[in-house]
Every structure is written in structure tokens, then in C-alpha cells.
Symmetry: D2
Subunit: 148 residues, 4 copies
């Protein structure tokens, strides 16, 4: 089990409303994905070195509560709906101290080569696919355990 | 009818994939909203001066095609589902020259005061509400016309 | 003579102080450079297509006055100290309406290839060099005229 | 002695050159300042709660080497030239593993109230002033020790 991603808010991420600008949540999601990949032994740098890119094809964020400068957020992610060409990730952002839910989110991804052409991930990168599928399975097991 | 929002891509908005980073689409959506509000005679500055803020409570983006440095994008928006306390906006981002669809998106908003407490918009800001409702009606009419 | 670069402030460029975050000035400088290059017939896209990159090797910004959301800024630039391998650019950011000086700045640049190796610009890209040198001369003439 | 500020590069901080966009160095400098203030027992949040703001009035960055995604940077800072109304900070950014120097930088700051009016820091905030002056002294001592 990977420890959730944790990070402090940077001053430059706030806007004149006095809270974190909503676009930054999308960046926190990316940080979380890359953190998890690294912890699971598949750092994104190593994937790019194999000529593979994993662009975002969809995002959705539901903002529940404003985040302020000085807050520390904790983000958990679970891989969901892993297929041979796509996968999606679900996120929960909470306050480190209070546990308050800041946002839920999800992102969808596919696999492309350096010319941004789709790649049949499972077939062309079987080892990498297995790593992803394994992580997805673990995430599923954990989610089910949490639900009990 | 407001002319669609148009803007060039900034170099610093690209990432090492060589394309616009996906988080910037969320910023382009904000630019578009504020542009439309200004064109419809309700600039956001004037709204903030009345002590009203319009935070984002949800976003969704579907990425269709990568945007590159050098491209000029054209973004249209339509207000949808206007209620007395919330509204949502739908966006279409296209290439200025080719018309290619880069992304569709939507955002949801509510109204709060300077302490981020919800405001019953229709009741407390009847004039502003009318402006919004009118813009929403125009957008609806236009969408229906396009569909024919 | 190229018309100065003009742009409105985006909401997401403000921070919780209620003003434009200082890091964005550096981005406005880049926007200005690329705008001028395009207007002078040497768009940066065309330069990159020749395998040439122009990284920033130094910047300096002096902040005179806070910029607010709703302001429109006008930025002028002048190429200074053009050599066969380097050049520097000087900037003045003012308010469009009041002419108030927001900041002065300068940036230094060199020329590298796609592997970030230095390129002897004047020797290897004589045509491009001439364009730059010409723009620098025009800028110098204009600055001297202004001074009179 | 405060441990230097350390941070990994985020993917969204790169640009199409494949390296960290130069504007982000200015943001790393801010992160470093706020980190040091917190470690020295004067978190910026507590300063803002007293109605005091510390805007940036000048920055300078000298870029020595490109930073890539996957790198971890280590940033040290030293307060220099502390006066009763201003101070400046000097920065060194290095690679965590190799020690390679990525950039040197400096920033200048003053003290203002919430309406951005200058504040005579030493006179109006004597306790806070002492904290800053002490930190500056420590930094000076350390720099001199390093030089020996």
C-alpha cells in the first residue's frame, strides 16, 4: 500500500479570492499520479524513456471546500477501469489535520508514442501493462476493504 | 451575440510532451467566462465590487486533440441550467484556422459572499440575476438555431 | 516600428495579496519577446523548426507598482547588446490607460541547438542573425529618438 | 541552521524545450523563502495575520544549467542587506545528487500593510524585526564560515 501523496500549498497557487485557484487541483492530480507511479516502481521518467507517453484525455473535479495557503493536503488515488488501451484514476483530496474533504476528482488516460499516435498498451508493453494491472487490482482490493 | 473568445498559445503553457499542458484548458475556460461577462456588460470586477464571488464548484474537460505552440484557439461558451443559486457553462475549443475541435468542457458555479458563504443570488441580486438569465436565454436560442 | 504588446490580466494570475503574482511578469516578458519576433517576421515557431532554441540565461525585474485584475498592461521591448552569440532585451511595462510604470525588466539570451549545446549564431545562422541585428538597430534608433 | 529546501520537479513545470520553464525558478525562490521563514519560527501565515505583507520589489536570476523532470533540486538562501524597511535574499539552486549549480538568484523585499502602503518595519514590528535580523546574522556567520 502506497502512502497517500502529501503536499503543502504554495503561496503562488492562491488567487485574489484568497484560496487555491481551482486550476491547480488538476496539477495536484498530476503530482499524485506521478508520485504513485514512482512508489509502485514505474517512474514516469522510465516510461518516457521507452518512448511511451500517457496523456490525459478527460478530467472531472468536484470542489467541496476551499483550500487556503498554510493548509497541507493529502491526496489518495485509485486506478479504476483498466483496459488494454485506457485507464482512469479516482482521487480524494483531504486536509491532513482535519480530514475534511476538499475535492473528489477523476482523470482518464490513454497511451501514445512520441508522435502522439495511440499505442496498444497491453500488446506492445506487456510488462508495463502488468504493473499497471497489478496496481489497479491492489487499489480495487483496498477500496473494497474500506467499504466493509 | 458575443464573438467567441480568441487567444494564442503562450510558450510557457506547453510541457515536455511538446503540447499545451492539460491544466491550462481550465484556465482558458476562466478567461472565456470573464471575457463573455465583460462583453455582456457584467464585468467580473464590477461583481466583486458588490461583494459577490462566483467560485467554481465543478469542472469537466474532454480532450480531443493536442494544442501546440503557434496555434490560435477560439472558444465559445453557453450558459446552461441557470437556477436561482447555481449555473453551469458549456465550452467548445476549436482551432481558429482549421475549425478542428480541441476540447469540450463544462463548469459549474455558485454565488458566495466575501467570506465564501452561499448567497441566494436571485433574491439578493435581482438585477444581476436578470442579466445572467437573459444571457442564458440568448445562449439557448442560439444553440437551438445551430441545431436546426 | 512594432506596436507595443498589450494584454489584459487573467484572474488566475492574481494571488491572495489581491495583485498579479510577481512570477507572472517573467511570463509577460516571454509573451512580449515572442510577439515582437512574430511582428518582425521571425516567429519563434519558424526558428524552432530550424533546430534553434533561444533559452533565457538571465532575468532581472524591478517591480514599481502592483498590477490588479481588470488592468490592461502595455509592454515595450528593445533589443540591446546584440553579439554574435548572445543578446539582451529591455522591457517597460505600463498601464494602458494611465501610463503608470508597473515594472522595468531585462532578460539575456543565447542560442542553442536541440541538445541545448551552444550555437555560434552569427556564423551558423547568418540570415537570422541579420534579422536580429536589424531589429536591434531599429530599437537603438528609436530609443535615441525618444531620449531627444 | 535550517536544512536547505528540497523539492522535486513537477511535470507541468517543464516546457516544450523539455526543461523547467525559467519562470518557475521565481516560484521556487518564493517556496524557499516561505520554507525558511517557517523553519525559523516566523511562518508567513502568522505575519499576514498581523496585517503585514512582504511583497517582492526586485528579482534577479542567473540560469547556469537546465533542470529536467525527474531532478530533485536543493535550494539554500541567505538573508542579506537587512535594513529597517527592506531586505534582500540570495539563493543557490543545486542538484541534490550531483551538486551541480542550476542557478543563483536574489530577491528584494519591503514591508507593506494590507492596502499595500509601506510600513516602517523595525519601528512598528520590533519583535518580528528582531527575528529577521537574527536570521540575517546567522546567515552571515554561516556564509563567512563557508568562505574560510
Amino acid at each position: 500500500m502506497v502512502k497517500p501523496y502529501e503536499r503543502k500549498i504554495n503561496y503562488y497557487e492562491t488567487d485574489k479570492m484568497g484560496i487555491v485557484h481551482h486550476s491547480n487541483f488538476v496539477r495536484y492530480m498530476e503530482e499524485t499520479r506521478l508520485y504513485y507511479m514512482e512508489k509502485q516502481g514505474i517512474p514516469y521518467e522510465s516510461i518516457e524513456k521507452q518512448g511511451l507517453l500517457i496523456p490525459v484525455i478527460g478530467i472531472e473535479v468536484k470542489y467541496k471546500k476551499a483550500i487556503h495557503f498554510g493548509d497541507t493536503i493529502v491526496i489518495q488515488q485509485w486506478i479504476k477501469k483498466m483496459s488494454s488501451i485506457k485507464f482512469s484514476v479516482f482521487y480524494e483530496m483531504r486536509d491532513k489535520e482535519t480530514g475534511i474533504l476538499y475535492a473528489t476528482a477523476h482523470s482518464e488516460h490513454c497511451f501514445v508514442d512520441e508522435n502522439l499516435k495511440p499505442v496498444r498498451f497491453k500488446k506492445e508493453y506487456p510488462d508495463l501493462y502488468e504493473n499497471f494491472a497489478l496496481a489497479a487490482l491492489e487499489d480495487k482490493a483496498e477500496l473494497e476493504k474500506n467499504r466493509e
